[in-house]
Amino acid sequence: MTRPDLTTHIGPLTLKNPVMTASGTFGYGLEFAPLLDLHALGAVVVKGLTLAPRRGNPPPRVVETASGLLNAIGLENPGVESFLKEILPQLEKYAVPVIVNISGNTLDEYALLAARLNDTAVSAVEVNISCPNVKQGGLVFGTVPEQAAEVVAAVRANTSLPVIVKLSPNVTDIVGIARSVAAAGADALSLINTLLGMAIDIKRRRPVLGNVFGGLSGPAVKPVAIRMVWQVSQAVDIPVIGMGGIVSTEDALEFIMAGATAVAVGTGNFINPQATVEIIKGLEEYCIKENIAKIDDLVGIAWKDGQNGK
């Protein structure tokens, strides 16, 4: 059999396969160059950027929980200018689509960030309206449908790049947010960001994290993410990038069958820094074994088949 076609379309963006990295878990990509061929990835999504540099939250910033990780990094980053000047030129050499995750405290900041990334080597923007670890903005924008739509409209108006919107799972109605963001002009949706959580150190009788609350990620959150991808992918016409606890090919397939057009590996990179490339190979092998010509044929198959009564 000929090689299966893993090509994936995220709005106007074409990726050679559906496997990307989740923002904040892959640095700026360069750190992984000694361990894997960056060019092999569908796309690299870099750590969230803000207009000005951010120092981040006080330590401790991470704590492991049962099959999960709580983090409260607080969007530490060098700021967009430094990224464009110092980091992007190096990343460009690997000829892999670079998606920049952006966060703002105000609508204006989102708009300025989006505008700044036009006419650069960046392939798309991922609008983070779901960070649980910063006081202003972030999550606030992501939990109210009208505000989420305003952010997306502001970004849309200021960029010619594909716009991906990253949704928070910390909402009662994920479908409502997804619909309103899609209507505001998003080209694709990413879900899920981390689930708000916390841990107590019983020896110190205090919260473990310096920031008190943190975002839960890793295999522990996967069932929540799968459920949300299933719901959202049926409710909107734009592609969904699924993430939350992916560590293996089987996990990636689960997301794709639930309706994800592409997938992103996050915390999985910490456990196995080569997880992304292993999953790409695994998807290819699965398609060969199951006689699937295009990976696209699997997207949403878990609900599509049900609807068609096959």
């Binding site: 878990t25 640095g27 910033r61 910490f270």
Partner: protein
């Protein structure tokens, strides 16, 4: 830095909760610097999820071995202690910067508290090989928390302290500092609990002697991408966060912010 499956050549209990793990890792043995560490996946399961960081205790290029000396603390280290000779472990490394050794040989003071002395063994060996005169201050809560107390004297004069007085001088390792004259040394190295390091810094600062400390911060990735291991450091007049895994774990003590209120 690379990821590989390495075979457990030997795993033996030393005293109490300390274990010595010998791994077949020729590539790491060839390139490692004292003070660097590796990230080990202690089991293939998803719980415990993350790798665990361990300093490289010793290495032998000829045999292609690296050694880890670890203390059983929680579920990850418990699982590691239960692994068997012949098992394979998923290892990422070597990671971090390691200690720097000035070119011209001189006199070095190495201070280790508890399991913090683990990386000082490889450092003492390297210093010794480069004709440095080594003095070691080894402390622990009790005798069973001392790292290889008999053998350390192989590298130089070794002074031992225990909090409970079960061996050597009774008291904390910092209480033995007056026994050595700071001015005698060209370089001080320390690894152990944060309060110990801060106390050593206060002592070394008076004499202006260079002090390198190896910091321990909870880690997720170990390779500079998650920003989870932040520790405050001084950059000019500003306080910024450094990544202990990739910018450290060894820092010039003068750069470290010891009492952060930020």
């Amino acid at each position: 830095m690379q990821r590989q499956y390495v075979e457990i050549k030997n795993l033996k209990q030393l005293t109490g909760r300390y274990y010595l793990l010998t791994l077949a890792a020729p590539l790491v043995a060839r390139s490692v610097k004292p003070g660097q560490f590796v990230q080990l996946k202690v089991s293939a399961q998803l719980d415990p999820l993350l790798r665990r960081p361990f300093s490289i205790h010793d290495w032998c290029d000829a045999q292609g071995n690296v050694e880890i000396l670890f203390q059983v603390r929680g579920k990850g280290t418990r699982l590691l202690a239960d692994r068997k000779q012949g098992d394979y472990l998923d290892m990422l490394g070597p990671l971090g910067n390691g200690f720097s050794i000035p070119r011209a040989p001189g006199k070095a003071l190495l201070i280790g508290g508890g399991i913090g002395a683990a990386p000082l063994w490889g450092l003492a060996k390297s210093l010794h090989a480069r004709n440095w005169q080594v003095t070691v201050l080894l402390g622990g809560a009790g005798e069973q928390f001392l790292v290889r107390p008999e053998e350390f004297s192989r590298w130089g004069r070794t002074i031992i302290t225990t909090d409970d007085g079960s061996r050597g001088i009774s008291g904390r390792v910092t209480e033995a500092l007056p026994l050595v004259a700071a001015q005698e040394f060209d370089q001080i190295y320390a690894c152990g609990p944060k309060p110990m390091l801060a106390a050593i810094y206060d002592w070394a600062r008076i004499t202006g002697l260079p002090l390198q400390v190896s910091l321990d911060e909870v880690m997720a990735c170990g390779m500079g991408v998650c920003l989870g291991c932040a520790h405050p450091v001084r950059k000019g007049k500003e306080t910024v966060y450094a990544k202990v895994c990739s910018q450290g774990p060894v820092f010039d003590a003068r750069e470290v912010v010891w009492h952060d209120q930020a």
